[in-house]
């Protein structure tokens, strides 16, 4: 028996492939989850880093802007120390337009009075600082001989601004201070308004006061650190770090929405001031990023899973087909073998039948040859041993001659049969008149028929077409048929021979009113050594080969012979020749 688990078994194939498939898919999924964690981490890190860079970029921009403007003012202050007061204005204009960020440039003389500036309409000329008790910064710049930057303050025109106080010295002689105002709203517009995404940017100073922001949440002038102190400890920590001038990142949760936010902060160092900028972005941004990666990953897993399933299915299909073709092959081979077995069996049966026929033939031949020997021997021995009368002696001698004739006939018949069977029977064909042939046969059998008082009548159609045949063999055919008819017809019976044309054929019927042939024997009468048992036949018993020889001769001439018979009424042997 074939073991159940084979490559050809569909059920096992399917199971195996499904197991492999599931294994691969779960491996990929596991790897995907592991990868996700890494990706999450990396994305987080990258995002943080990116936000920090962004904050640095902004802080650098602002820092540069402020310092550049400060340097410009310092250069201007240095420059105007040598210039007569009346020629200073063009320099102011020059600096004003080059800086593109300075709200107003003013000059305050050594006694603290604003004498000139640009743009003219914003200059409160003649305004005395001392009179308004606003000379603190003026004096600080003068005494330190160093540019000084103030905290933001409320401008007269509204809004917050910072001022740059740069002292003007000609040698050691104090000439006054160049004052420039930069509006915080300008900084905001210039650097912070480009972020319309979820990100927010704000700038605080070293005291935790909001200077400007990208959204309305961050109100300039509001003390941020006071606001968050106690309510948002994480943001408070971040602000403290910002106020220390450090750079870095940190998380906090919004007090009202509890939204997780990332703040990346960088310091802005501007002379005596230390500001800090922070880029705030919600965690959801990172999550969105990761989510998009996830989506792609899931897509990839789905795709590879699908591919694996497809691949497996095609393997299953392939195996199944292979299996089927194998099965078909096996089936066809099996049927081939069965068929050839069947053929062999049949051939074997046939051979056995032939073998039996052969041995039957041999035993029949020996029997038939021995049979006439017995009377010959008895008669001869009787004649030798006794001295009977003339009549008995004559009877014995006749018996011996008759049996010698019988055996001679037998030997001749057997030679004929063997010639026929080996295909060596030669026909000397010539054009013959069937009527003459029948008459010759009739003459031959005349004596025998007279002995039995059987009346033979012939009815031969005149002008029958001649046929091409062997004369002696054809006479033998009709002699055999007549002798057969005489044998099976009781004394005083009738035998009739009829010859006539029928279409393309010539038919010769030999009819007797003898005992007939039983239906179950009618197929066998043309077989070799077949003899129907009957008492009439005894005095003329033949070799049992006559009809077999007759049939062979007929077939050798391209004709046929058959018999029709009714037991008790008689038989008709119908020979048909082709014209």
């Amino acid at each position: 028996m074939i073991p159940k688990f084979t490559l050809g078994n569909n059920k096992w194939n399917l199971l195996l492939v499904i197991i492999i498939c599931t294994l691969i898919i779960s491996l990929i999924t596991l790897y995907g989850i592991r990868l996700n964690e890494d990706i999450h981490e990396i994305a987080q890190e990258q995002f943080t880093h990116q936000q920090l860079l962004l904050s640095k970029q902004i802080s650098t921009g602002i820092e540069e802007f402020l310092n550049q403007n400060t340097i410009n003012i310092e250069i201007l202050a240095n420059h105007i120390s040598d210039t007569p007061p009346g020629e200073v204005i063009p320099d102011f204009i020059n600096v004003y337009y080059h800086s593109r960020g300075i709200y107003v440039i003013e000059f305050i003389n050594e006694s603290g009075v604003i004498t000139m500036g640009y743009p003219l309409e914003d200059i409160p000329t003649g305004y005395d600082l001392y009179e308004h008790d606003q000379a603190y910064t003026f004096e600080k710049a003068r005494d330190n001989q160093k540019t000084y930057v103030t905290k933001p303050f409320l401008l007269m025109e509204g809004g917050l601004g910072v001022t740059i106080w740069s002292p003007v010295y000609k040698g050691d002689e104090f000439k006054g201070v160049t004052l420039a105002i930069i509006r915080l709203s300008d900084i905001s517009n210039r650097f912070l308004q480009n972020y319309d995404s979820t990100e927010e940017v704000y700038v605080v100073d070293e005291f935790g006061t909001i200077l400007c922001g990208s959204s309305d949440r961050y109100q300039a002038g509001e003390n941020f650190i006071d606001t968050v102190n106690g309510t948002n400890p994480l943001l408070f920590q971040i602000l403290n770090k910002q106020m220390n001038g450090s750079e870095g990142t940190g998380y906090y949760f919004e007090s009202n929405t509890f939204e997780k936010k990332l703040a990346a902060y960088s310091p802005i160092k501007w002379r005596n001031r230390l500001w800090s900028i922070a880029v705030v972005s919600p965690q959801s941004d990172v999550d969105d990023l990761i989510y998009s990666v996830y989506v792609k990953q899931v897509g990839l897993i789905g795709l590879s899973g699908g591919f694996i399933v497809l691949f497996s299915l095609s393997i299953i299909l392939l195996l199944t087909r292979w299996n089927k073709s194998l099965e078909l092959e096996v089936a066809s081979k099996t049927s081939e073998i069965t068929k050839s077995n069947e053929l062999l069996k049949r051939a074997n049966t046939k051979l056995m039948e032939l073998d039996k026929l052969k041995s039957d033939f041999v035993s029949m031949v020996s029997h038939e040859l021995k049979t006439p020997l017995t009377p010959m021997k008895i008669s001869a021995e009787f004649l030798l041993q006794s001295d009977p009368d003339v009549s008995v002696r004559r009877e014995m001698l006749e018996l011996i001659v008759r049996n010698i004739d019988r055996q001679t006939r037998m030997v001749n018949d057997m030679l004929d049969i063997s010639r026929i069977e080996s295909g060596n029977m030669r026909f000397r064909k010539e054009m013959l008149d069937i009527g003459e042939i029948i008459n010759s046969a009739f003459e031959t059998m005349k004596k025998q028929s007279e002995e039995k008082k059987i009346n033979i009548t012939t009815d031969i159609s005149p002008g029958l077409t001649k046929i091409n045949a062997d004369k002696d063999k054809l006479i033998q055919v009709f002699v055999n048929l007549l002798s057969n008819a005489l044998k099976f017809t009781p004394d005083g019976g009738n035998v009739e021979i009829k010859a006539f044309e029928s279409g393309k054929y010539i038919e010769v019927d030999v009819k007797d009113d003898g005992i007939g042939i039983p239906p179950d024997k009618i197929d066998k009468i043309f077989d070799k050594f077949y003899q129907i048992d009957n008492t009439y036949a005894r005095p003329y018993s033949g070799s049992g080969l006559g009809l077999a020889i007759t049939k062979s001769i007929m077939e050798g001439h391209g004709g046929t012979i058959r018999v029709e018979s009714t037991p008790g009424e008689g038989s008709v042997f119908i020979s048909i020749f082709l014209k």
Partner: protein, 170 residues
């Protein structure tokens, strides 16, 4: 009328009137004169009777002549059925039975005769053209007393017949 009855009738008639002519007896028993003559010859015949059974007349005739020359009364039968019939009416002293016969062969005839109380004692010599051992065994099993293969030696057959008849007569 049964042949045995005819025999008895003939015997009775002759006992009453030994001078009665054959023609008168034939008239009384409704048979021919020849038959009466034959019956009387048979009845008066003291020779031993041998029945030869063979479908081949050519074998039967010379054997009959040879055995008649040896002074046996020979009765013949050319088929199995006839052999059984004749055996029952004639009660031969010996049967020479041919094996190869159509319709009813020698074995069957032998079996029928040997199974019958009236005929079972009659010795049978089987004659056959086949000289096979199987036939010999079957022949003896069915009760045949001897077995001769054709073509046999006439002298030998005669010797065997004599031997068997002497044995049964003792």
């Amino acid at each position: 009328m049964n042949p045995d009855d005819i025999d008895n009738e003939i015997v009775n008639i002759i006992k009453k009137d030994p001078e009665m002519p054959y023609s008168r007896i034939a008239e009384l028993l409704l048979i021919s004169e020849d038959e009466v003559k034959e019956k009387l010859e048979t009845l008066s015949d003291t020779r031993q009777k041998i029945l030869i059974v063979d479908d081949e007349l050519d074998t039967l005739i010379p054997l009959k002549r040879a055995l008649e020359a040896e002074d046996y009364l020979v009765v013949e039968a050319s088929s199995g059925m006839e052999a059984i019939e004749i055996t029952r009416s004639v009660h031969p002293d010996l049967i020479l039975l041919d094996l190869m016969m159509p319709v009813m062969d020698g074995f069957e005839v032998c079996k029928v005769l040997k199974d019958d109380v009236l005929t079972g004692h009659i010795p049978i010599i089987m004659l056959t053209a086949k000289g096979e051992i199987d036939d010999k065994i079957e022949g003896i099993e069915t009760g045949a007393d001897d077995y001769v293969t054709k073509p046999f030696d006439l002298g030998e057959l005669k010797a065997r017949i004599k031997m068997i008849l002497r044995r049964t007569n003792v």
